[in-house]
């Protein structure tokens, strides 16, 4: 899907939905509920198919575009469980992901001036005012490892929250411990991921173009990403929206860490025994299919015992962070609570994730004394090496 795609372009895809709610749960025989909206409010409406029906209904003039549709469109958590489990939509031309159709619906809402109140509105106001949603990262490589000639480039993502800053700082310390030369790609603007997800497509192309202009000079190097949202967007969406894009070698930092442990460049400290459970972030897992590397990293740490939550890997349950609409009240918080309940059932001491949004959302619903139970993989590895 590109940025000029219209609702009419996805009409055939939307009409293929057979209304079975297959998009809401994982594979047989476990059949785990995976769609947070459907889990929260079991109804055809609150499934991937519900969105497809709304698109069809808009095109068939059975409903007018309004604020409710906007709130509805922004309420999806964007976990991609629908796209992973529907065995109809993704196998038939034209190939359009259900989540992309939801993003398109958001984009249409934004075009019409409908923006949900709250985070989305603030985001939109900033984008409208500055043409960007970027914020400088605190990532600064130590001279010892910094080299413009290095084959590896670390992609410095925007840093909107304290969590993201902390994760970036821990990443720098880890890169220093590994000691291999590395260069840094630091562009102050948003790569476009957030704008794409939330339908602010009008401002997206110039940002993506600016990024790519700088990135393409480095395209023979391997890009290492800390935030899976940026990585997923660049490797999957730049090809669709930038005509001159050519593929880049890319890695998530968990893959770099796993490799560093294997090569003996990173060594675990001797620490007390700790039991951890790993939460697969949606964009790293279902988005990029990176499931093993974070687990390999955890397995490389002395004293760390890994226990899986019932829903894991491609059948992971979302943290709920990216639900910005309020059509389903408390969806974001309740989703996080549901996942924490699942974590608690494992008996693990720590909940490890690999995405700042997940960490923030889990911590937001936890009582103060428990917040320290949630850690990002990078911070956790930094503490244990």
């Amino acid at each position: 899907m590109n940025l000029s795609t219209t609702l009419e372009d996805v009409q055939a895809t939307a009409a293929r939905c057979l209304r079975e709610a297959r998009c809401t749960y994982g594979p047989w025989p476990e059949n785990h509920p995976l769609c947070p909206m459907y889990w929260h409010e079991p109804s055809f409406t609150f499934s991937g198919g519900g969105y497809l029906f709304i698109v069809s209904a808009l095109l068939d003039k059975k409903i007018d575009f309004n604020q409710s549709i906007t709130d509805f469109a922004f309420s999806c958590t964007g976990c991609m469980a629908c796209d992973s489990n529907c065995n109809i939509i993704r196998f038939h031309e034209p190939y359009v992901d259900i989540l992309d159709i939801i993003r398109l619906l958001r984009s249409e809402a934004v075009k019409r001036g409908f923006i949900p109140e709250g985070v989305a509105k603030k985001m939109y106001d900033k984008v409208k005012k500055t043409g960007d949603y970027g914020k400088a990262s605190s990532l600064k490589l130590p001279d010892k490892i910094s080299s413009d000639k290095a084959d590896t480039v670390v992609f410095a993502e925007c840093s909107h929250t304290r969590t993201q800053k902390d994760i970036c700082e821990a990443a720098v310390r880890l890169l220093e411990k590994i000691g291999s030369p590395i260069s840094q790609f630091a562009e102050r603007g948003c790569c476009g991921s957030t704008l794409y997800d939330f339908g602010f497509w009008g401002h997206l192309e110039p940002l993506a173009k600016a990024h790519w202009e700088k990135m393409k000079g480095l395209k023979d190097k391997t890009f290492v990403f800390i935030n899976p949202h940026c990585q997923e967007f660049i490797v999957k969406r730049y090809p669709e929206i930038l005509p001159d894009y050519s593929s880049i070698n890319n890695q998530h930092i968990s893959q770099l860490l796993a490799d560093a442990f294997k090569k003996g460049k990173l060594k675990s400290k001797k620490t007390d025994k700790v039991k951890v459970s790993y939460h697969d972030p949606c964009y790293l897992g279902r988005g990029l299919k990176i499931y093993d590397a974070p687990r390999e990293v955890l397995a490389s740490l002395d004293g760390v015992e890994m226990v899986e939550m019932v829903r894991n890997r491609e059948n992971s349950f979302c943290c709920g962070a990216r639900a910005l609409g309020n059509y389903v009240p408390n969806l974001s918080e309740d989703t996080a609570r549901e996942r924490i309940k699942e974590f608690e059932a494992t008996g693990a001491d720590l909940l490890i994730t690999a995405c700042a949004y997940c960490k923030d959302n889990f911590q937001n619903v936890m009582p103060g004394k428990d917040k320290a139970k949630v850690k990002d993989l990078i911070e956790f590895v930094n503490e244990h090496t």
Partner: protein, 500 residues
Amino acid sequence: MATKTMRIEREIVSSERETIFQELRKAIGAEKVRDDEITLVTYGRVRHGFDIMWPFRKPSFVVFPETREDVVETLKIANRHKFPVTSVGTAPIMLGTTEGGIILDQRRRDRILEINTDSGYAVIEPGVSFDKLTSALRGTGFKCSVGTMPGPGTVLGQALSRGSQSFSTRYLSLVLDLEVVLPDGTVFSTGSSHFDGVGSHLRYGPYPDLAGLYTCAYGAMGVITKAAIRIHPVNEAYRIHFAGFDNYSDAVDYVKDLINNNIPEHTFIWNWHMYLTWPLSPSDMEAVMPQILESDFRKPPEGTPYNLVSSFLSGYKELVDAYEKVCAKVAKKCHGRVLSDEEVEKRFPATLAGFRQQYGDYSYRESVHWSKGRFAGWYVFAEPKDMKEIEKFAVNEFSKFGKAINPVNYYSHPFDFGRSILLRIGGFPNPDDIELRKRISKKFDEMYEMALKRYRAVPIRPIGSDRAGTYMKVLRSIKKALDPNNILNRDSGLFEEGEL
């Protein structure tokens, strides 16, 4: 007259809408009653797909009962206000809904209440899907009957709409016992559990078989809130046997012979378009579909049997070994040939994988091809010798549409030990080609007429009450007694005219 009556009723509906809404919320809880525009619109077409061929009927409310009492209260309120109610399951249903009415979506009632492995039945709520039940049955030594429904489909929806699963070789109807709620709030069971403390092991008691009244009634006679359905023991050994035939007549003779000798637990006749495309994975689809889409379904390529018969053989290992030999003997007698596992694996790997899924773990996951177009199917029952003629007739009629509806998939299987044979033949027209789809619908109506007159073929779904004579008259009398205000599935299904 009918139109006038309906219009008056709808005006009443409109004026009482708010009152009913408040009563429903008070009775069963606000969170179970939705009237927001987005919910109503997404329930405006409940047949599968947002298909502009089908009427768009926006309900006034969608109710999500969580208990039987929620259903009882909803029906009592609706009945008091003479307000239409349509009960639906999770997956596609065969009917439309009533404009401005209540849709009762029982998907939240999805508990498996009992798996009785002594008698062989499972008691389930209406929202239980095949995926859920087949999963729960694993390790119990029991299975569902071989499915033809997608995993997310509700077991009860399949059982009550009498999908072809219910017509399989030995299994007969899925339904043993139903718990029914009538519009006035009366609750009763149709099978043995109507006696206090008795389980659901027996469909037929000392009284008339009321479960039959609720099968293919499409919710018009009452709302089902619980069901006991038949489950079957998993035998010591099983094998899937394949035999190929150059014509349908020989394939029918073969399956009749096998059934009359108590050989297969389950058997299907497939045409070559279907057995090559039915459960295809996307990559297989890309490899196979282009050729299928361009082919004439009447003329398979050299070496590809026109029909494949799959037979599920099960029992003690010694018996299965013997059954296999019998199948080979009978195939030869009927001018067919046995296809070895190796040959099937080599030539139709996806087909074999699909069979293994169905027979091996007794589950059925939706195959991807259903969305190639909007499936248009024609289904009839007939006696074996008549069905041989009907197959030729149907194939000839379908061929008139040319490649536009490829793949043309049909399957056929004996029901009730071969007393009757089902043929389901369908194509996949482009969903956007409304003109073609209208032509197909019209053609199907003509074909049903002709098949009934010429070949004594009974349609699987109602084709107009005028053809059913006094049968419909009696049904209307029963409907009036059970649902005097005609609130249940008023505009669709059994009594399509909208009034009794």
